[in-house]
């Protein structure tokens, strides 16, 4: 018995019980840890699907990956209701600093801006007068005010309307009514999340903490060197995310590059150490091959054995040279003891990283010395913005940067391997020879994502029907 099945949260459903959620938030991670501890041997002897029987086991329909109608339902019941990651607090350190977050699946384009009190605000990038964009650039500093270039309306950094040219010519005009339309913004561990629902069903803390409280304290804020790549891929957002939440593909898609960085079992299979599915989110834990630079996280920071061992598996000479150059060059020293309890939750000695999928489409891979943060942002039923970032610690010198550049270039090329499959898969789904996909046991995260999306749509539709019955019934009149 493993998992969070005992912790049922109705947080986005009909009867949100926030008080109950807060109680769960305090204790849930402990429950998860203790059930894992008690059930460790038992868990290993069973298929992952046995632990999550409610997710089903049959083939998955591909309609949700190709249907414009299904996408409209996802927009309505998911992307207009949930918290979505848009960036790091550190991107906008000063009052007036902003960036624009385009969220097509939420029908929103938001200005995310720090105000004079240091608070982060999210507001629709639309002037309250005649709807011009407030800011034209993707990011920048607004200075002290946001000024519309159309008729000169002027707003404070928190969205309050403070300047209206020729205000006397507006009849019965109340400035207080015409501040910028706001979305909700909040921060978890330095990550800025927004929610366009006027009344979110849960707070960000109540959305995150039941499953991710154990990740709090990971040194996200100390990994300050970020590299970012973006591309619009012609595929469904779930297909893109799915390529990053299973290890079955690694031996084939990454056979030329980093496949040997993951540990294999006696049969050559690359099973994750463990997989946890919550009511929304999910986590996978991976074991590495300590003979590789890429699969041995201790290589850079651990004094002796690890560094010697890493880099012995391939003929290449650049990897060991990069490792040697990077030794002692990082401005941070990591020790596994500093990492919070949810990291490597089964404490596997070969652990290399955890994948944390924050519903619906935010992927964070936490490693001992760097992390990746990817958004698979839907644009249409068959178009997705892949916004990918990797965060490393700052380096002291050129040798350290050489190591970091090596790690970064390998990662980027590995991402190109993953991305290479996506548009072909979308075309394969749309060409229609089959209506369902079959999954093996450790592709469970793919099933879990499809399951949660479908459940939210089903619950949302039921809610709408109940609402329209209530409005239409004689007793409600």
């Amino acid at each position: 018995m493993v998992g969070t099945r005992g912790i049922r949260l109705q947080q986005l459903g009909l009867d949100a019980n926030l008080e109950g959620n807060r109680r769960n938030a305090d204790i849930s991670w402990l429950i998860v840890l203790s059930t894992i501890e008690n059930g460790r041997d038992d868990a290993k002897s069973h298929l992952m699907h046995d632990r999550y029987a409610e997710l089903g086991r049959g083939p998955l329909p591909i309609e949700p990956y190709i249907s414009p109608t299904y996408y409209e339902l996802e927009k309505r019941h998911i992307f207009k209701r949930v918290w979505q990651h848009v960036g790091r607090e550190a991107e906008i350190p000063n009052p007036g600093d902003y960036f624009v977050a385009d969220l097509p699946a939420s029908d929103a384009s938001l200005i995310v801006i720090r105000d004079r009190d240091g608070k982060i605000n999210a507001m629709h990038n639309v002037c309250s007068h005649r709807f011009n964009k407030l800011v034209y650039d993707e990011r920048g500093s607004a200075g002290r005010r946001l000024n519309c270039k159309f008729h000169g309306w002027s707003y404070q950094l928190d969205g309050r309307l403070v300047g209206v040219p020729d205000e006397q010519y507006f009849e019965d005009f109340d400035r207080g009514q015409y501040g910028l339309a706001r979305a909700h913004a909040d921060v978890w561990q330095g990550f800025i999340f927004v929610n366009v629902d006027p009344a979110p069903a849960v707070s960000l803390a109540d959305f995150m903490r039941p499953f991710y409280a154990g990740l709090e304290g990971y040194p996200f804020d100390r990994m300050t060197n970020c590299y970012r790549w973006q591309t619009v891929v012609n595929c469904n957002w779930k297909l893109a995310l799915d390529a990053f939440q299973e290890t079955y593909h690694v031996r084939y898609v990454h056979g030329r590059s980093i496949a040997d960085a993951l540990r294999t079992d006696d049969n050559g299979s690359m099973l994750p150490i463990d997989l946890l599915c919550g009511d929304f989110h999910r986590r996978l834990s991976m074991a590495g091959n300590p003979k590789t630079v890429y699969g041995n996280p201790k290589a850079l920071t651990d004094g002796n054995g690890a560094a010697k061992q890493a880099g012995t598996s391939r003929a290449g000479k650049i990897a060991p040279a990069a490792l040697k150059a990077g030794r002692g060059a990082t401005k941070l020293h990591f020790d596994s003891a500093e990492l919070p309890p949810a990291i490597n939750w089964l404490k596997d000695p070969d652990w290399v990283f955890d994948i944390n999928v924050i519903f619906p489409e935010f992927y964070v891979s936490t490693r001992p010395n760097y992390y990746q943060a990817y958004n698979f942002r839907p644009i249409a039923h068959n178009r997705t913005l892949f916004d990918s970032r990797v965060y490393y610690p700052e380096m002291k010198n050129a040798g350290g940067r050489f190591y970091q550049e090596y790690m970064k270039c390998v990662l980027r090329d590995v991402l190109l391997e993953d991305l290479g499959t996506l548009e072909q898969i979308q075309a394969g789904c749309e060409s229609g020879p089959r209506t369902h996909m079959v999954l093996q046991d450790y592709e469970l995260a793919v099933r879990h994502n499809a399951f949660v999306v479908d459940r939210m749509i089903r619950e949302g539709e039921e809610r709408r029907e109940a609402e329209s019955r209530r409005k239409g019934s004689p007793s409600a009149r």
Partner: protein
């Protein structure tokens, strides 16, 4: 390929490879696509032979204070990282069966990106 960039005299042997002294990831990545695997392997081989020497000199400077005359060598070190996957994994300037790297655009002006 030739370059107008002049490397420090001690590293004159690397002058034929000075065209790899490019200051952004995008420029280095696109240059990789223009080169043959033979060219890339020759560059990597030459850089590996001099790497300890180069880093020994560059590491004397804080990262944000590398003097102008030494910057081309620094960029060439980053180019060595750029071509590492060609030499170690792919034996092809492109990622075989991969997505077009020109569509995967590096955000060179991202505020959290290191300045150098």
């Amino acid at each position: 390929m030739t370059s107008s960039i002049q490397l420090p005299a001690d590293f004159a042997e690397l002058q034929p490879y000075a065209h790899w002294a490019l200051d952004t990831e995008t420029a280095r990545n696109h240059h990789r696509l223009e080169c043959s695997v033979t060219d890339i392997e020759a560059f990597a081989g030459a850089m590996m032979a001099w790497l300890d020497e180069i880093l020994g000199r560059l590491n004397q400077f804080p990262l944000d204070a590398i003097p102008d005359e030494w910057r081309p060598l620094y960029w060439m070190v980053l180019s060595l990282a750029e071509v590492a996957p060609v030499v170690e994994f792919y034996h092809d300037a492109r990622v075989p069966d991969g997505y077009d790297t020109r569509r995967f655009v590096a955000d060179e002006s991202f505020p959290l990106r290191p300045r150098v």
